[in-house]
Structures are given as structure tokens and as C-alpha cells.
């Protein structure tokens, strides 16, 4: 009796373990390209750059260990501080403006009207091309010298731009680049639209019955129901904004000028690493960026508990 009982339980268990082992083998086989890439192109290089950040390395002589020297030097390097300032301003101003534009247009398009698909695609287009060198060149041509932006500005009585137009004015290059990122609001807009489609219509009806106006409905229904999507967009766009490079490189001709006003973090990192070949210093910069982005991410996740609302979510 007991013998058969144990037999009965062990055979399926053994079969299950055999199958589990086979599953595991298949899993790792399918995962192997990614796993190889993860080790060789991400995890390995991360460890290597962490090590390099404690050394002096110019690509030609062997790395010389210098301890925390690179990190200490960073914080007394005026260019580094400038890069932090410019990038910080860009992230803090550009990202919210971009998301507000995205949400506003998404709200506008989220109506059962004809041509909605057309508008959605057309507004999405700048997101697709905005990061390209072509658009950076166009942006420069629009803002340079007495370009069209300067003309439109003076038409509305704005103060005249100095030599070189907005491109040559250290006070205006940042607004110019922020405009370029806001222009690319299409991708978060599409995500907002998808989120808006999932808000149950009953909620709006119930709110209307209770006498809520459009503004009240927005703040009490739309925004809470949209908060997971808002959080997603905020996280991705913030991280993205930290890494602005192409437009700054093209518009300043790789210099970060005028007067360091377009010396964004990644541009300075590039110049230090790949123009001056200070690989150790650039690695330290990269790690500071990772830590800052990591802290921002964790902070966003922490605060999200207070304002992101997962309605009846089983996941």
C-alpha cells in the first residue's frame, strides 16, 4: 500500500522534474543571444567602465589607478558644472512642457470625430524625424542670424536677437533646443491617446450625473485614470532628456557653444572621451550620469505610490 502510494507520487514528480529541466534547457537556449549580449555588451562594459572611472586612461598607455581622483576633479571642473546646469534645466523645463503638449493634443484628438487617425499620425511625425541630423540642421537654419524665428519674433515686438540670431545667443540656445524637444511630443501623445481610450465611459457619465464640469471631470476622472500612463511617459521622457546629444552637437558644431550654453552632459562626455581620449574621466562622468538617472528613477517610483492610481488592477 505505502509502496504503491510513494510510487504513484514519485513518478509524476520525477516526470515533472525532467520536464522542468528540459524547459529550463530550452529557456536558456532561446535566451542565449540576449544573455550573451547582456554579459558582453552591457554587464561587462559596465564593470569595466566602473574600473576605468578610477583610473587615468588615454587608450595608448596602460590605465593608471588614481582612486577617486576623477570624481573629485569632476566637481571642481567648471565645464562639468556647466554641463550639469544646462542638462538639468533642459530636463526640468523641457520634459514637463513636452508632456503638457502631448496631453493637450491627446485630449483634443480623443473625440469620436472623422480624421482622427490622420491627425494622430500627422502629429506623430515630428517624433520620428525630430532626432535626426536633418532636423537639427533645419532648426539651426530657422533660428540662425536673421532667420525666420528672429523675424517672427521682431514682428511681435520681441527683443532683437544678437549676432548669429538665436544660435549665437547663449541665452537663447536652451529655449531653442527645448522647443525642438517639445516639438517631438507625438510619441507620448500616442501613448496618452491609447490610455485615454481605456478610461471607461461610465466614469464620465457618472461624473456628469453628479454635476461635474469639464474641468472637474479632467482632474477627478481623466487624470487619475491616466496616471499610470502619465507615469510611464514621465519616466521615459525624463531619462531620454538626460541623454540629448544629436541636436546639441549639430547646432553647436560639436563645440557646446556659444559660451557653453549647449554643452549638454553627453556632449561633454563625448568630447572628454573621444576628442581628448580621457577615458577614465569620461567613464566617471558616465557613472555619475547612471547614478543620477538611477536616483531620479527611484524617486519617481517612490512618489508614484502617492499619485499613480491603478484602478482595480489585478496585476
Amino acid at each position: 500500500m505505502t509502496a504503491t502510494a510513494t510510487l504513484r507520487t514519485t513518478t509524476p514528480r520525477r516526470a515533472r522534474s525532467v520536464r522542468a529541466r528540459r524547459e529550463a534547457r530550452a529557456g536558456y537556449a532561446f535566451l542565449s543571444p540576449w544573455l550573451l549580449g547582456f554579459v558582453a555588451l552591457t554587464a561587462g562594459p559596465m564593470i569595466a567602465s566602473l574600473y576605468l572611472s578610477f583610473t587615468n586612461y588615454n587608450l595608448f598607455a596602460a590605465p593608471k589607478f588614481t582612486g577617486l581622483d576623477n570624481y573629485v576633479r569632476l566637481f571642481s571642473d567648471p565645464n562639468f558644472l556647466q554641463a550639469v546646469k544646462v542638462t538639468g534645466l533642459y530636463v526640468l523645463v523641457g520634459t514637463p512642457l513636452k508632456l503638457i503638449a502631448a496631453l493637450a493634443v491627446a485630449m483634443l484628438l480623443n473625440q469620436p470625430r472623422r480624421g482622427q487617425g490622420f491627425y494622430r499620425s500627422a502629429f506623430y511625425l515630428p517624433s520620428l524625424i525630430g532626432g535626426s541630423v536633418s532636423i537639427a540642421i533645419v532648426w539651426k537654419a530657422m533660428f540662425i542670424d536673421k532667420g525666420i524665428v528672429a523675424q517672427i519674433g521682431s514682428f511681435f515686438g520681441g527683443p532683437p536677437a544678437g549676432e548669429g540670431g538665436w544660435v549665437g545667443d547663449p541665452g537663447r540656445t536652451l529655449p531653442m533646443l527645448i522647443l525642438l524637444t517639445v516639438w517631438q511630443f507625438g510619441a507620448p501623445m500616442v501613448i496618452f491617446l491609447a490610455g485615454l481610450k481605456q478610461v471607461p465611459a461610465e466614469l464620465y457619465e457618472a461624473a456628469s450625473v453628479d454635476g461635474a464640469g469639464a474641468v472637474r471631470r479632467f482632474f477627478s476622472v481623466t487624470l487619475p485614470m491616466l496616471s499610470p500612463v502619465l507615469f510611464f511617459n514621465l519616466l521615459l521622457e525624463t531619462i531620454h532628456a538626460f541623454q540629448i546629444f544629436n541636436s546639441a552637437y549639430i547646432i553647436s558644431n560639436g563645440s557646446g557653444g556659444p559660451a557653453g550654453s549647449t554643452l549638454f552632459y553627453t556632449l561633454y562626455l563625448y568630447l572628454r572621451g573621444f576628442r581628448d581620449f580621457q577615458m577614465g574621466y569620461a567613464s566617471a562622468m558616465a557613472w555619475v550620469l547612471v547614478i543620477v538617472v538611477g536616483i531620479v528613477t527611484v524617486m519617481l517610483f517612490r512618489t508614484s505610490r502617492a499619485w499613480v492610481h491603478y484602478a482595480g488592477d489585478e496585476r
Binding site: 555588451l41 559596465m46 511625425l125
Partner: protein, 309 residues
Amino acid sequence: MSATQTQTRSVPTTAGEDRQTTPLLPPRTRRRRWGWKSVVFHVFALAVLVVILYPAVWMLMSSFKPGNEIIGSVDLIPRNGGFQNYVTALKGIGGISFWTFVANSLILAVASVVGVVLSCSVTAYAFARISFPGRRLFFACMIATMLLPFHVVIIPQYIVFNQLGLINTYWPLLLGKFLAADAFFVFLMIQFMRGLPRELDEAARIDGAGHVRTFVSVILPLMKPALVTSSIFAFIWSWNDFFGPLLYLKDPGTYTMPLALRLYVDQTSTSDYGAQMAMAILALLPVVVFFMAFQRYLVAGVATQGLKG
């Protein structure tokens, strides 16, 4: 679970219902949709659209203008228009044919698409359909790479590729594509696979198919929309990529379109904005063509990204 999910997807949602039933409504009610509210909507949406697309249209029209007519001109219609700028741009740069740059970009973009489709679909299958120890941990790692600033890996990568003598080749730019390093695509495909009914896998298993067979003959054919979306994005991103080629391609003969464009802007005198605009348009042309042809896939791809994440 997954079966009900796909079912609900085909059932019109409350937001779309309204639109989908319109053709069935009698003409009168249909005409009433063009009331003043609709007019206000379209006028407003079009006005915003004009402002948003103005830079793109200005760029296109400028490419037909002579150089001295571009800067400072708000006008869209060229006064002395023509294709002269394109003739100039197509001459190439410093003895290198324009078509060399196109061919370089094309080779890179097509190879990227192949790499992404192969490696990311296989990886996504592992995450979505096979249970193995460490899956959750690896999944978290995969998602984390999406948030990681890639600058932290480029320096060691550059050092290694440099020592292997791979500067001025496309290997540094392509290796990651064949090793599923673009987590965005893996994630997109996982999301899509999760929507496919598991009963299909089970039916295949009962018929004696292993994972390879199930993946190749059941899942892969059903994944076509996700593969198309990924391919288009992979193509466009590779075509537009500037940073990677800037790092690894030093010989102008290997330049891609964005690099050639920058070189062109560097070399031409600032007064020749016309040819720069023409070159910029030519560099964007494939992207815009892809957009026109596949906009639905692109928009759907972006939309799924934010949901259920």
C-alpha cells in the same frame, strides 16, 4: 486569460463604438455630425497641425530655393525655384558619390532589421512562453537596460572594438542588433506574444512539437504585426542613428547619410543653405516614405509600449 484578452481586443471599445457604427446610421444623423462642434474641432486641429508641421514644410520648400532666399524668408513658395540644389547635393562630397552614403546606410539598416527580428523574437519567446529558473531576474535586467544611459557602456565597448581593429567597419554597430540588445523590441514582442492564446502552444505540444517547432511554425507566423512594427522602427532608428556611426566610422567612404550630411554642412560655405536643405531632405526621404506606408504599425507600436507595462 489570454483568450479573453484577445477576444476583448476585437470587440469594439466604448470609445471606438461610436465611430464604427456611424456608417450604419441614416444619412441625416451622419450629416448632423458636421455641426459647428465638428467645424470648431477641425479648424482648431488643423491650425495646430499647420504650426507643428511648418518647420518640415519650410524645410521641403527651402530645398527648392536658391541659397540666398532661405535664411530670413518666412515664405514657403520659392521665387526662383528649381531642382538645382538637388543636382548639387547629388554630386557627392569630396569625390565620394552620394550613392555610396545611401548604400552604406541601407546596408546597415537592412542588417539591423534582420538582426533585430531574429534575436529579439527568440528572446521574447523565452520570456513569454518558457518557464526557467532566473526568468524574473533576467526580465528585470532586460527592462533595466531600457532605462540605462548607454553612455556607461560605450567607452569599454569602444576600447574593445578599437583593439580588435573594428573601427571603420559596421560590426560595432550591428553586433548589438544580433544579440537582442534593444530591449524595446524584446518588450514589444513579449507584449504581443502575451496576447496570443496559450491553447495554441498546448495544441502544438500535444501534437508533439517542441519549443523550436512551436516557435517557428505557430508563434512566429502569428507575430507578423509585431515583427513588421519592430522592423520599421529598427530600420528608421538605424537610418537616423548619428552617435554610433560618429564613434566608429572615421573613413568618409564608410559614412552613413547622417554623417555625410554633417560633413556636407561642414564643408559647404554657410551661404549654400539650399544644397544643405536638399541633402537633409534626401536623408529623411526613406524615413518619411516608411512613415507614409506603415504609419498604422508605427502608431500602434508606440501605443502598446505604454500599456500593461
